[in-house]
């Protein structure tokens, strides 16, 4: 398996560049609007970039994971390899990219005048739970991707909605109370709050966020593996 990813090492430069550029553009656009809404002592740049980094992890990891099994159909129908490996390794590859993104994020944190948190290693824990969450949804979606060609489009629309329902470039406090409660029910919000707090003390997650993170990731992988196991025997014929 490592052999496969060896080749894409060159691509890492690009995976780094992508969130940095996106952050930069969004920073220019939104810093005028939202920067003043953050609690005092918090800078907008690291707040925004942490959000983008985590959202990139989620959306790209999910797409890669869901696509991995259909994409490797040629091999899977010739040699026996547990198909779940592909979905999980795609999620782990996204985790690696995410962790590499810590470096530019750390630089932004320091430049903007904030300091890194002592709880920084917890960020990796968030990444770990996120990878499990992604792999679980990815397994479920991979069955859909094989069965229905247009499910890809639907998923990309859903990912866009999920992006706007996550406080990536806005603070939750700017929303009205209905929207706030919707955003609070988005599991990504909890992951993001914990990540921001662990990395540079840019948020204050509640105990509920922790529970939400752990529960959603375990539920996701449990449902994903169960659904996949049940559906796979009849789906593999369509590869």
């Amino acid at each position: 398996m490592t052999l496969r990813y060896k080749r894409s090492v060159l691509g890492i430069g690009w995976t780094l560049l992508n969130p940095i550029l996106t952050s930069f553009v969004l920073w220019i656009v939104f810093s005028f609007v939202f920067a003043s809404k953050l609690p005092s002592g918090q800078q907008f740049a690291p707040y925004l970039m942490a959000g983008i980094l985590l959202n990139t992890f989620f959306s790209q990891g999910l797409m890669a994971s869901a696509e991995s099994i259909a994409g490797n159909g040629g091999v899977l129908t010739k040699i026996y390899i547990p198909p779940q490996i592909f979905a999980v390794s795609a999620a782990l590859a996204a985790l690696v990219n995410f962790s590499i993104g810590f470096l530019p994020l750390a630089i932004v944190v320091v430049i903007s005048g904030q300091s890194l948190s002592l709880w920084l290693p917890i960020s990796l824990l968030v990444g770990f739970f996120m990878a499990i969450y992604v792999a679980g949804i990815g397994l479920t979606l991979s069955i859909m991707f094989i069965r229905f060609d247009d499910s890809r489009n639907i998923v990309s629309v859903l990912l866009m909605i999920s992006m706007y329902l996550t406080p990536i470039f806005y603070p939750v406090s700017v929303l009205n109370s209905t929207m706030q409660s919707i955003v609070r029910w988005n599991p990504l919000t909890s992951y993001l709050e914990i990540f921001r707090w662990a990395f540079s003390n840019n948020a204050s997650p509640s105990g509920r966020d922790w529970v939400f993170m752990v529960v959603t990731s375990i539920a996701s992988i449990a449902i994903g593996t169960y659904f996949f196991k049940r559906r796979w025997p009849k789906t593999v014929a369509m590869l």
């Binding site: 398996m1 091999v75 129908t77 040699i79 390899i81 796979w232 009849k234």
Partner: protein
């Protein structure tokens, strides 16, 4: 002891009748209450046992379920009915070169393919030169696979798949690959593997090769076993049909 044991194995999958490859269409049809599906029986009630060193051929018309059966043996398709038990290491040669990547070099492909088949990287590394030499592609091993001719790819895949001793070989029409010299060479290696105790399941339309190689033959028709027994009798009946 039997290496392969199939008990009443069947494989059924569900097809939606109105060419629905899209959720949108499915939803529209569902609203109109017109979702119809049929269960397509690809294979049903197949039972047999195979001992070490034995060669079994599977014959039948196109769509009879031969490749489905082979895939079930390979573990690629989980059977929807019955039980398939394979004791020992399988070398699936369902399609030569499956698992090969165009952009990787010959050496990397051999390694990758071997790892997919569950071999130890360490053991394979020392064998790469020998594999390349047997396949006659030593000069090309460090170039990307896309520079190989299709015959070279097939030779390299065959050499890799048969390099380590396996207990079961699953072969789908690959003996007809390559030039005459390579065919002879691969036949010799197959014979050698059989002599060393490997069981072989062979799918072929080449009835002459079936007669020469296999001791017993399964004749499949529409997913069911039409006849199973000594190769001579089964092939005679198949030809007389």
């Amino acid at each position: 002891m039997s290496v392969i044991k199939l008990e009443n194995v069947g494989y059924t999958y569900r097809v939606l009748l109105n060419r629905t490859g899209s959720l949108k269409e499915l939803f529209r049809e569902a609203v109109r209450g017109r979702v119809r599906m049929i269960d397509y029986v690809a294979l049903s009630g197949v039972s047999f046992e195979l001992n070490a060193g034995e060669v079994v051929a599977i014959i039948g018309n196109n769509g009879a379920g031969k490749s489905t059966l082979l895939k079930i043996l390979a573990g690629v398709l989980p059977p929807t009915e019955g039980k398939s038990v394979v004791n020992g290491k399988i070398a699936p040669m369902i399609e030569l070169g499956a698992g090969f990547h165009q952009e990787m070099t010959g050496v990397e492909n051999v390694l990758f393919y071997s790892v997919l088949m569950g071999r130890k990287t360490k053991n394979v590394k020392s064998r790469i030169a020998a594999i390349g030499e047997w396949a006659g592609v030593t000069d090309h091993m460090d170039f990307p696979l896309r520079t190989f001719s299709s015959g070279m790819v097939a030779r390299l895949a065959f050499a890799t798949a048969t390099d380590e001793k396996s207990d079961v070989l699953l072969v789908d029409e690959i003996l007809s690959v390559g030039d005459a010299e390579f065919q002879k060479k691969s036949r010799a290696r197959m014979d050698q593997l059989i002599a060393s105790g490997a069981a072989v399941v062979l799918v072929s339309h080449d009835l002459r090769a079936v007669r020469e190689l296999s001791t017993r033959t399964i004749w499949l028709e529409s997913g069911r076993v039409k006849m199973f027994g000594d190769t001579g009798a089964v092939v005679d009946a198949y030809e007389a049909k």
